[in-house]
């Protein structure tokens, strides 16, 4: 059981890295790409003995309290297995 926590800057916060990449893509002639946001992804391997519910609770807590800074970032969680 694996959880993927995707953390990115909130839409309201300027992302200079994303902007630089977007500008570079446009300059290279890549068409049809609008906004680019750079984020990070955490791959959490969960102990198989944990129930799905307990695991979900733990991952939510870690994502909220450690992996994200609520002032500037938001997160989403995707599960595998």
């Amino acid at each position: 059981m694996k959880a993927f926590v995707h953390v990115a800057l909130k839409k309201s916060v300027l992302d200079p890295q994303g902007k630089a990449i977007q500008a570079a893509l446009a300059k290279r002639g890549h068409r049809g790409i609008g906004d680019v946001r750079q984020g990070k992804c955490f791959e959490l391997q969960l102990d198989p003995s944990l129930s799905r519910e307990a695991a979900a609770q733990e991952v939510e807590r870690v994502a909220r309290e450690v992996l994200t800074n609520p002032v500037i970032e938001e997160y989403s969680v995707r599960w595998e297995g």
Binding site: L9, V13, L14, P16, Q17, A20, V66, N69, V71, I72
Partner: protein
């Protein structure tokens, strides 16, 4: 006076803060290990610059969980002086002891150069010996110093005069290249509601001797010494 300098794994300006507070400001300066909750009777605490825990998650994000930070939180809540420099500022923001957050520099690169800072308020333990509007020449050295805060909080910071330092030109006025990182409203440093906790991105401990290019940073350390001395005098008198 005893000034404690916290040492996190990855702190690399701890020696510089100890040297500035100890040798140059003439105080007893002691390192405080991150795994201990004992502040060893320090009268003030400095969180120094560096890359605590490698700063791999976010700058300052892991350091806030260390045992010493529980003690620093209690110390701050009791109204005692806490100064966060660079990574220390980032840690204070992550810990919620100061509002806002520090993003990647707008120019994307790490920036190391002298900047000019205007002292916006002198009623903190770290600016008490400064003049309001005084311009200090102090270096920055960081990759994530782009201060952000939501608009209501910014309003509040302005209203409560909690922006303590702003990037400025040599004459103290706003200047086009003065802000090295894109920080909102040219903010270089802010204070807590109680004004006893101050964080700033520039490194006052690197501007403490003319041989290093500037000794303007001594004003910050002198302010602290002056504040603590005044307290002691009051206690003795009381």
């Amino acid at each position: 006076m005893k000034i404690g300098v916290v040492v996190f794994p990855g702190s690399n300006c701890d020696h510089d803060a100890l040297y500035a507070a100890g040798v140059l400001a003439g105080q007893q300066a002691v390192p405080l290990w991150h795994e201990s909750e004992d502040l060893e009777g320090a009268d003030a605490v400095i969180l120094p610059g560096g890359f605590s825990y490698g700063d791999y998650l976010r700058t300052g994000a892991i350091a806030r969980f260390s045992p010493v930070m529980s003690a620093v939180r209690r110390f701050a809540a009791a109204g005692r002086p806490v100064l966060g420099i660079c990574n220390g500022f980032q840690i204070l923001c992550e810990s919620g002891l100061l509002p806002g957050a520090l993003l990647r520099n707008a120019g994307l690169h790490f920036v190391c150069r002298p900047v000019y800072l205007r002292v916006e308020a002198t009623d903190t333990p770290f600016t008490a010996a400064c003049r309001a509007g005084q311009v200090l020449r102090i270096p920055v050295a960081h990759g994530d110093g782009n201060y952000v805060v939501d608009p209501p909080t910014l309003d509040r910071l302005r209203r409560e005069r909690r922006v303590i330092f702003r990037y400025c030109g040599r004459d103290g006025r706003p200047a086009p290249d003065a802000n090295p990182n894109g920080a909102l409203d040219d903010i270089a440093g802010v204070a807590s509601e109680g004004r006893n906790v101050v964080g700033l991105m520039p490194h006052p401990e690197r501007a403490v001797e003319a041989a290093l290019g500037s000794d303007d940073g001594l004003a910050i350390f002198r302010s602290l010494v002056q504040t603590l001395a005044a307290e002691t005098a009051l206690t003795v008198a009381g």
